[in-house]
């Protein structure tokens, strides 16, 4: 108990980032000589981190190389300790929309497991962003160890219900993008920008044509991507061709040149 108290006290320090000793890092090899799976552990609850470490301490092929209490500490750990798998508490990322993409950016090869409750929108979004597995906090030690091994081996850990959610999300996204009945409303400016994109113009050229700055165009593009559910310029152009947005814009009297002239003649400030 005293040993546990000591470990908990140590781990309760704000922004706690535990480093394994160089000896442990050197020893991160299975008895057979194969490299062990290097794990990063990120959890806000010290007692949980202690418990998880003890679970993996029994395994020859898995080593917890570092642990973190917060996202900033995790970012630091990712950069300092090359790891194969990250086990992260869902609560640490719930309020940060780009938490997973940021982790992927810092360590493109790391495989992420999130401990979170089963929830359709959350599950779909996590897998969409690149998470390899979602497990409940109540997962048994044996199953968690199996999960880490499978994911380190390149598999995805996903239960039947989550598979249905992900496939359904893919189906409805496809239907939404290709169905003519579910087109979001686009403003004249947005239509003008889209017309320029499909003509192959770059952001700088579009900004010049519309009398605005490149940053404004980028901001508009981000909004357009979100509105239409497209991921990049190419998908945007394809969406426009499929839905014949140019014809609709022309019918509404919208084209980039006219929009630019209209702004000039009305003395409107260039946005």
């Amino acid at each position: 108990m005293a040993e546990l108290d000591q470990e908990l006290n140590q781990q309760s320090a704000p922004g706690f980032l535990d480093e394994t000793s160089p000896d442990m890092r050197e020893a991160a090899r299975e008895p057979s000589g194969k490299p062990a799976i290097r794990m990063l552990l990120a959890d806000s609850q010290a007692i949980y981190r202690v418990g998880i470490r003890k679970v993996f301490a029994l395994e020859d092929d898995i080593r917890v190389v570092a642990q973190a209490e917060s996202l900033p500490a995790l970012h630091s750990a990712i950069q300092r300790y090359p790891s194969d798998v990250l086990l992260i508490e869902g609560a640490l990322i719930v309020s940060t929309t780009n938490a997973i993409p940021e982790i992927m950016r810092l360590a493109p090869d790391i495989k992420v497991i999130v401990q979170a409750t089963a929830d359709e929108s959350n599950t779909v979004e996590l897998y969409r962003r690149g998470v390899r597995g979602i497990v409940p906090r109540s997962i048994s030690p044996d199953l968690l160890v199996k999960c880490v091994r499978k994911i380190a081996g390149g598999e995805t850990w996903i239960d039947n219900q989550s598979v249905n959610w992900v496939i359904e999300a893919y189906r409805s996204q496809a239907a939404q993008l290709t169905s003519p009945k579910t087109q979001p409303r686009l403003s004249p400016k947005e239509l003008a920008i889209i017309a320029c994109i499909t003509q192959g113009k770059r952001n700088k050229e579009i900004a010049y044509q519309l009398g605005t700055s490149e940053q404004v165009i980028k901001n508009y593009l981000r909004k357009i991507y979100d509105k239409l559910g497209v991921s990049d310029r190419l998908e945007l152009a394809l969406y426009c061709l499929h839905h014949q947005l140019h014809k609709k814009a022309a019918e509404a009297g919208i084209n980039p040149e006219a929009l630019s002239e209209m702004q000039s003649s009305n003395g409107l400030p260039r946005s």
Binding site: Y170, A174, T198, G200, E235, L238, A250
Partner: protein
């Protein structure tokens, strides 16, 4: 022979960090493919942000590197000048049916013309 095109603002699709759910748009656009040292005329069957399914006269072997230009007519752009997107990719699937040969290519890089 061959298309010599300036490589303007080459874009690589996002690395596969997430689940790739690129929607396929059923667009039928003319395309020119350069592969195996030859040029082929083709028509797209469907296009997504990550790949294209072509219909053409010849079956291209899987893993063949391809360079292709998909043309967008002025009519499709409602009277504006024509446009095109130039892509580099490779064949990942090919087969022949009674009405012709088909090849599916992934897009590794693209740029608008």
């Amino acid at each position: 022979m061959g298309i010599t095109l300036p490589l303007l603002q080459r874009v690589q699709p996002e690395p596969p960090t997430g689940v790739r759910c690129a929607v396929r748009f059923p667009l039928h656009l003319p395309a020119r493919i350069i592969a195996l040292g030859k040029e082929f005329e083709a028509m797209t069957e469907n296009i997504s942000a990550s790949g294209v399914l072509f219909k053409l006269d010849e079956v291209l072997p899987v893993n063949t590197p391809v360079e292709f230009l998909v043309e967008v007519s002025a009519d499709a752009l409602n009277g504006h000048s024509t446009a095109a997107f130039h892509c580099l990719g490779r064949i990942v699937r090919s087969y022949r049916q009674s009405d012709g040969a088909y090849g599916a290519a992934v897009i590794d890089e693209y740029c608008f013309q």
